[in-house]
């Protein structure tokens, strides 16, 4: 009987091995080989060529612009995410589902269209174009446009990670704090934040990865001015299109390295989130020792 059970509860061993082998082959081909290719191609001409490609002035300028765009976009979207989380998860109001759907909207918009929105608003022939031109303010084909496009594409990441976490945590602890006389900010920093910190980190790291890696939207608004409006992904494109493959992959390896860091932090944060959820449910489920 137990033999029969085991055989019907999982696949026969040879089939299991075959499926595992197919899956590993597929993942090797589609994930590992491309990842390895980035680093192998980056070092194809040796360490010297690698470091001179990475230290080249245009590449450094691109790195600075990428860091700048992320340094503005991530904090903005972090503040937004926390506000949206508090407002949506801690209170009941009509239109909640609609608001949550609208927050996800940038995910549904093609990156190319995301960038185009800002060209249509602030470009030469755009809605505010002639006013901006008269006042000598440049947004599109300049740094502000790149920042705006970056904010747009990385908009939902923090909010969508912490809304479900804050909802799952419930309001009991915050209400207790409020009843005991804590102010709003005090309640948030002392009670809410410790519960959601790993989820928040997880959202921030995804937001940052998208902000630093965005290509389509930024490409449309940048105008590709070397050393001025090129981010790292755009620099990769330029070098590649000039057939300077080794340099392109050297710059790309910086972004691939960032992706690997993202994956590591994500894995750690995810485990911590699971632990927090488990601990919380254990506390709730623990039987009351005083009851018979």
């Amino acid at each position: 009987m137990s033999n029969l059970r085991r055989s019907t509860l999982t696949e026969p061993a040879p089939l299991r091995w075959a499926i595992t082998a197919v899956v590993l082959l597929f993942l090797t081909l589609f994930l590992l080989v491309p990842l390895a290719t980035v680093f192998i191609s980056a070092f194809a001409k040796g360490m010297q060529a690698y470091f001179s490609a990475v230290r080249e002035p245009d590449a450094m300028a691109a790195l600075r612009l990428t860091l700048l765009a992320a340094a503005i976009a991530v904090p903005c979207n972090l503040v937004f995410g926390v506000c949206a989380g508090w407002g949506i998860a801690k209170f009941d109001f009509p239109g909640k589902n609609l608001l949550t759907t609208l927050i996800d909207l940038p995910f549904a918009v093609s990156p190319v269209i995301s960038g185009m929105l800002f060209v249509l608003l602030f470009g030469r022939n755009g809605v505010f174009g002639s006013w901006l031109f008269d006042h000598n303010v440049r947004i599109v084909f300049a740094v502000p446009g790149i920042v705006l496009a970056t904010v747009f594409v990385s908009f939902p990441f923090v909010a969508r990670e912490i809304i479900p976490m804050m909802e799952a945590a419930g309001n009991d602890e915050e209400e207790a704090a409020a009843v005991l006389g804590a102010g709003g900010l005090q309640t948030f920093f002392r009670v809410t934040l410790p519960n959601i910190k790993w989820g928040l980190l997880y959202g921030v790291i995804l937001c940052n990865a998208r902000a630093m890696g965005e290509f389509g939207a930024v490409s449309v608004v940048s105008g590709h001015i070397r050393g001025l409006t090129n981010t790292l992904p755009l620099q990769v494109e330029i070098l590649y299109n000039e057939y300077n493959f080794q340099a392109a992959f050297a710059v790309a390896s910086l972004l691939a390295f960032l992706a690997l860091i993202t994956l590591v932090v994500k894995a750690i944060a995810e485990r911590r989130v699971e632990q927090t959820v488990l601990e919380r449910t254990e506390i709730r489920l623990k039987p009351d020792p005083t009851s018979p």
Binding site: L32, L117, A209, G216
Partner: protein
């Protein structure tokens, strides 16, 4: 109304709605303006131009093919990661998100270098008469890469939640493994599976960075719709670009709506 104990609703909600309108809704609502100058017949001519129609066909076709491949392999990957034990499982599990984390331009140049006729994978394939780079097949491969995590990540938690007792009950009532899989497990996974498929498809339809390098960008043959929009923008044809963008946006929003409905269905089924 116990919930009103907590402060800060007005401030946080006020900022949330303001920021949402400023960054997302405002810009999106102004999008149709340039297309209005075309008039209805002009708009129709632009969006039914043969070159534009060819780009829809390619974008939707390649996205559909990639989503189908991802549905099959994504299911296998999720199943193996949840149900089987093997060395390196945790690392592989973390690596599934690589396409989310790796910038699309990096994915684009890497896949092109790999599958180009002189690349590591392109050369052996070319020897067998299969060209990947600069063909619709290459576009589909890039879209498989981009879409894989969607299917795996939507299926994984649902497979984890599968109740072993239900499988045991079916087995003790005399069902074979295949019967348990087809009659018990798959119906349970079906809504989440479809959601993952739709997410991968929706992402593929708008994808740009990973595709432009491998596609070769030949009008009528390997030109995807997002690239056509960029081309029109670069020629300062704002009304034309907007018209095509509106079509793409409507497709995306219909998909978003379908995904929301699917997720609601999935949540009700699992509750």
């Amino acid at each position: 109304m116990a919930r009103a104990v907590l402060p800060g609703f007005r401030v946080t909600m006020g900022f949330t709605v303001f920021y949402l309108c400023l960054i997302v809704l405002g810009p999106l609502l102004t999008l149709p303006t340039p297309a209005a100058s075309l008039g209805w017949s002009g708009f129709w001519d632009v969006i039914t131009d043969p070159r534009v129609v060819a780009s829809y066909r390619l974008t939707l076709g390649a996205s559909l093919a990639a989503a189908c491949v991802n549905a099959v392999f994504g299911f296998l990957v999720a199943w193996v990661l949840v149900r089987y034990e093997f060395p390196g499982r945790r690392i592989i599990d973390a690596l599934i998100d690589l396409p989310f984390a790796l910038p699309t331009a990096v994915a684009g140049i890497t896949l092109t270098a790999l599958y180009a006729p002189n690349g590591w994978l392109g050369r052996p394939l070319a020897a067998r008469g299969i060209t990947v780079a600069f063909t619709p097949l290459g576009i589909s491969i890039a879209l498989v890469f981009i879409g894989l995590p969607f299917v795996v990540r939507t299926l994984q938690p649902v497979i984890e939640d599968l109740d072993a007792e239900v499988e045991e009950a079916a087995a003790s009532l005399g069902a074979g493994r295949l019967q348990v899989l087809v009659r018990v497990i798959l119906p349970y996974l079906y809504p989440a599976w479809l959601t993952g498929f739709a997410l991968a498809f929706a992402r593929a339809v708008g994808e740009y960075g990973s595709v432009v390098f491998i596609s070769g960008n030949m009008p009528m043959r390997t030109e995807i719709t997002p690239l056509l929009i960029v081309t029109k923008l670069e020629q300062y044809d704002y009304p034309g670009a907007t018209a095509v963008a509106l079509v793409l946006l409507i497709i995306s929003f219909v998909l978003l709506f379908a995904i929301n409905a699917l997720q609601g269905w999935s949540a009700r089924r699992l509750a």
